[in-house]
Symmetry: C2
Subunit: 206 residues, 2 copies
DNA sequence: TCTTGGTTTGACCAGTTGGTCAAATCAACG
DNA sequence: CGTTGATTTGACCAACTGGTCAAACCAAGA
């Protein structure tokens, strides 16, 4: 019933979402205009609004699609696996996600920077729940000495910060390094960092 | 000549800049309106434009004032000091800066996220020059075995990422942890992370 | 070919935006 | 107190914004 999709509908809807991702991820919600998105999608503004009821609807659709896959890397963290390898490969999956979907990363960053007006609710519910669960696993590893003693929440935050930085601050990274690919060397570096943190003696200041 | 400042001028100009910082850091340049800033500053819109010629002028003034102090922590990195302590305390200074000036951090983040249209030039000149200089110092430490073998640029990026994350993603951090202070525990954690990276054996993958 | 339902658009609208301006108000000094 | 220059504002404007709508267009099946 809600399924019937013409070829044209599918093509235009994806074109709009792709254009919206381009524009919203660069200018944020309030800084983006329907005209920009319409131009980027190769459609007229009224035609945009034939497929999506409003500017907000496009934005919401993008965020929903994003959140659906954004947390997959963390979901895959397996309590049965080898502690260090599990965490390291989680960081690697997250980095891959940032490299392959930098626009999504910036869309998310924009939303959070502006106080998460549209996804704030799920931060405290779905996201918190998932993080708390995985933090529990990490804490267990930490308590049983399988990894160094580290605050699990901060560890997760550090993985988010390190990986997303290359996508979100792309311009700065490229400018400072002169490289064209902001992710060059990032994988090896983050691998090194994570192993260093997890391997180090149980000493934990404070 | 350009110095003459009435008490009123000083008061209003600082009120405007403070209000502008509030608004710009939350909504970005294009997402902010003069009315918002005027309201936040307790002035009328025409009165705003009596002190600053345009919306852009306020934004520019803020960015200039910001960049002036934003890089101080890195400038203070001293080649004559103890390598590990120098880097660790640089990270601590940067974290302090993020905690004390979260709005400035978000203003900067917004600007970079949107492709740095207004400060892009200085990223490749002033910033790159400073970073390259300090990266040279770190590389020397690394080469002489005084710290572990690490890519200096990535090391600096990681410090930026780790410290700014708590200010820029404040909402997310607070939501996930349920804490009111997003910086709680951050100092100890970052200290631990930096020492782990720098202390670890010279093994460097890839 | 005709019809039908999905698709596209030009013209339009009300609200908002950055910015202007002349007139009114205020502070301070002689 | 009066004058002068700094300050403040209400009224206004043109451009832009998200969104509407009736009319035109088009694809495809009968």
């Amino acid at each position: 019933m809600t399924k019937a999709q013409t070829r044209i509908q599918l093509r235009n809807r994806t074109a709009i979402l792709d254009a919206g991702l381009d524009v919203f991820s660069q200018y944020g919600f309030r800084g983006s205009t329907l005209d920009q998105i319409a131009a980027a999608a190769g459609l007229s503004k009224p035609n945009l609004l034939y497929y999506f009821p409003s500017k907000e609807a496009i934005h919401t659709a993008l965020l929903e699609r994003l959140l659906d896959t954004w947390l997959d890397p963390l979901r895959a963290l397996n309590s049965a696996g080898d502690p260090v390898e599990e965490i390291v490969s989680y960081a690697q999956r997250k980095l891959t996600m940032s490299r392959e979907f930098p626009r999504e990363s910036r869309l998310f960053a924009n939303e959070i920077l502006q106080g998460a007006p549209r996804i704030g609710a799920m931060l405290g519910s779905d996201l918190k729940q998932l993080v708390d669960e995985k933090a529990g696993i990490i804490r267990a590893w930490s308590d049983t000495g399988k990894i160094a003693r580290v605050d699990p929440h901060h560890l997760i935050f550090s993985i988010w910060a390190l990986t997303q930085h290359y996508a979100d601050f792309d311009v700065q990274v490229r400018a400072v390094r002169g490289t064209d690919d902001p992710f060059a060397g990032a994988q090896a570096f983050i691998d090194h960092v994570m192993r260093s943190i997890l391997r180090s003696d149980g000493r934990n200041p404070s």
